[in-house]
């Protein structure tokens, strides 16, 4: 039986960035087709797990899409405040990806 691993050991890119001032998007790009298959069929990257990982509600998730050609998963969610507004923590949204790193994948 295959041992569990974590997402960061299967991915060459895990990043976050604004997609416009009202959304933040997370890109996960897997190392190879096998890793992409493994992550997709694991059912660990779902709306529910994203909600738990990021402490957000289902209605805050805008997109969760697997894109085979790029061996990529894209997750887009609503920002808590529009980019650069009072109370902002991360104007570019570039450092919000961390909860994804250690997501366990069977």
């Amino acid at each position: 039986m295959r041992t569990e691993t974590v997402l960061k050991d299967l991915a060459s890119v895990i990043r976050s960035k604004n997609a416009g001032p009202y959304e933040i998007t997370f890109d996960i790009i897997l190392d190879d087709d096998a890793s992409f298959q493994r992550v997709q069929s694991s059912n660990r990257l779902t709306t529910d797990t994203i909600c738990q990982l990021f402490n957000v509600e289902v209605q805050d998730i805008v997109e969760l899409v697997f894109f085979k050609q790029a061996r990529a998963v894209k997750i887009t969610m609503k920002r808590t405040v529009p980019s650069g507004s009072p109370g902002e923590r991360d104007t570019y949204g570039a450092q919000q990806h961390v909860p994804l790193l250690n997501l366990s994948i069977p």
Binding site: A19, G20, E23, T25, N55, Q69, A70, S85, P86
Partner: protein, 449 residues
């Protein structure tokens, strides 16, 4: 050829020369973005200096003139507001005079009239873009700067007459690269997709950077992308990954006039440093929509930066900060009346992620940033100074360091940050003509050559 991801970021001269040897048909460069936040549009400032803009611009202007090819600069000066197009024109004029060059320049403006937007809103022609909230009358009337994101049509209009340079206000990023292929009747899907990849310079290469450039070669049924610098390479992964960059959806990319659909797109390694892209499709929309970006002022900011090293204080930071915020609000009625706001960031604890932080525990030292926003700079300064004195001497439980709680790196400790803005409009408006919002002016500047 796209020499860099953002005008003013710098690029290696060798890369530019490499690119020029391939005899490109145009040089395109992006000069703005909303990514840096609302203050650029609000204050009429850029994300890069005039110095860097001029330094980067000069070799591009000289090269374009030497090769007799056009130079396209979009979203001038950070926000693409009219004042920033004029700012770019001022730099170009200075360059033309210094280099004794004669340049014909088309300026395309993108400021949006508030009354026009209000009318469109009343006519129910406005929709939120992505996750923006529904637009309100107040959001429109309180906006102090509004720009529309132009599509390719103003560029195509300019192409009917020869100009050396186009400088445009807020422009959909791929336009500067897609415009010429579209003018010559190349496939729209391929043209737009190539524009999307090239607008960030060499970010789509490995190693990736916006401080270097990329060449795009478009043919009837595919296009090729290759970095200008031989030390970088485009790989299937670097290019396909870039397609996702800063977009809501991985393969549906809406823009002015239609949507780029990459669901059937394929990426193949053409040679060691070049990637071939096939199958990008453009689906024209039934109505033409322009994205409007607007900002409104929300007050003035003052910031305090402080360090804490005492472990007894660090353990109680959340409790102490809560008490401090209550005491400050008791002193300043503006806070309770929501005319001012007070935020604190605790670096070392959850400064970056806030409520989404997943790692808990007490760090050995803590960085505190206090942000106050109030209707005047003086009030923001006053509140922030009050927070500082309170935090400095707050008598928390078990305190043995009774001389002061904060290590303050700066004197004066508070930094006045000036006027603060927030995005107020990020909506699409249905228009009758793709040209109606974007006036074009032509000017000839400079000397004899």
């Amino acid at each position: 050829m796209s020499p860099q991801g953002m005008l003013g970021y710098g690029y290696p001269m060798e890369s530019l020369e490499n690119g020029l040897q391939e005899q490109p048909h145009a040089i395109s460069v992006d000069a703005g973005s909303t990514d840096g936040g609302p203050h650029r549009l609000g204050k009429g400032v850029g994300g890069v200096s005039r110095y860097a803009t001029k330094k980067d611009l000069k070799p591009l202007v000289l090269a374009a003139k030497r090769l007799n090819i056009p130079l396209f600069i979009g979203s001038c000066g950070g926000s693409g507001a009219n004042c920033r197009v004029d700012w770019m024109m001022d730099i170009l004029t200075e360059l033309a005079e210094e280099e004794d060059l004669q340049l014909s320049v088309a300026l395309i403006y993108a400021d949006i009239n508030q009354q026009w937007l209000l009318q469109k809103w009343e006519d129910d022609c406005v929709k939120p873009c992505g996750s923006a909230p529904p637009l309100t009358k107040e959001a429109i009337t309180q906006s102090t700067a509004l720009v529309g994101q132009m599509g390719v049509e103003p560029y195509l209009t300019v192409f009917n007459e020869k100009v050396d340079i186009i400088i445009s206000g807020r422009t959909y990023d791929p336009v500067m690269t897609a415009a010429l292929p579209l003018f010559y009747g190349m496939d729209p899907g391929l043209s737009w997709h190539m524009g999307k990849i090239l607008e960030c310079g060499a970010i789509a290469a490995e190693p990736g950077t916006a401080k270097d450039g990329m060449m795009g070669i478009i043919r009837d049924d595919h296009f090729l992308v290759r970095p200008l610098n031989p030390n970088r390479a485009c790989t299937v992964q670097s290019v396909s990954a870039h397609t996702l960059y800063e977009k809501t959806h991985p393969y549906h990319l809406p823009g002015p006039g239609g949507m780029l659909d990459l669901a059937q797109c394929t990426f193949t390694q053409y040679d060691e440093r070049t990637v071939r892209v096939d199958g990008s499709r453009f689906i024209p929309s039934s109505s033409y929509e322009i994205k409007i970006e607007g900002v409104r002022p929300v007050g003035y900011r003052t910031v305090l930066v402080a360090g804490v090293r005492d472990p007894i204080f660090i353990e109680q930071i959340d409790h102490v900060m809560e008490k401090v915020k209550m005491e400050v609000a008791d002193y300043f009625p503006e806070l309770k009346a929501k005319q001012a706001s007070l935020h604190s960031l605790h670096y070392g604890q959850n400064g970056v992620m806030g409520e989404r932080e997943i790692t808990f525990g007490h760090p050995h030292e803590l960085g505190i940033v206090i942000e106050v926003i109030a209707k005047t700079q003086e009030l923001a300064d006053s509140i922030c100074a009050f927070v500082r004195s309170l935090l400095m001497h707050y008598d928390y439980e078990g305190r043995i360091s009774t001389a002061g709680n904060l290590a303050l790196p700066f004197s004066p400790p508070e930094l006045s940050g000036g006027q603060v803005f927030t995005f107020s409009v990020y909506h699409t408006v249905q228009v009758e003509s793709p040209l109606e919002l974007f006036p074009i002016k032509k000017r000839t500047i400079g000397g004899r050559r």
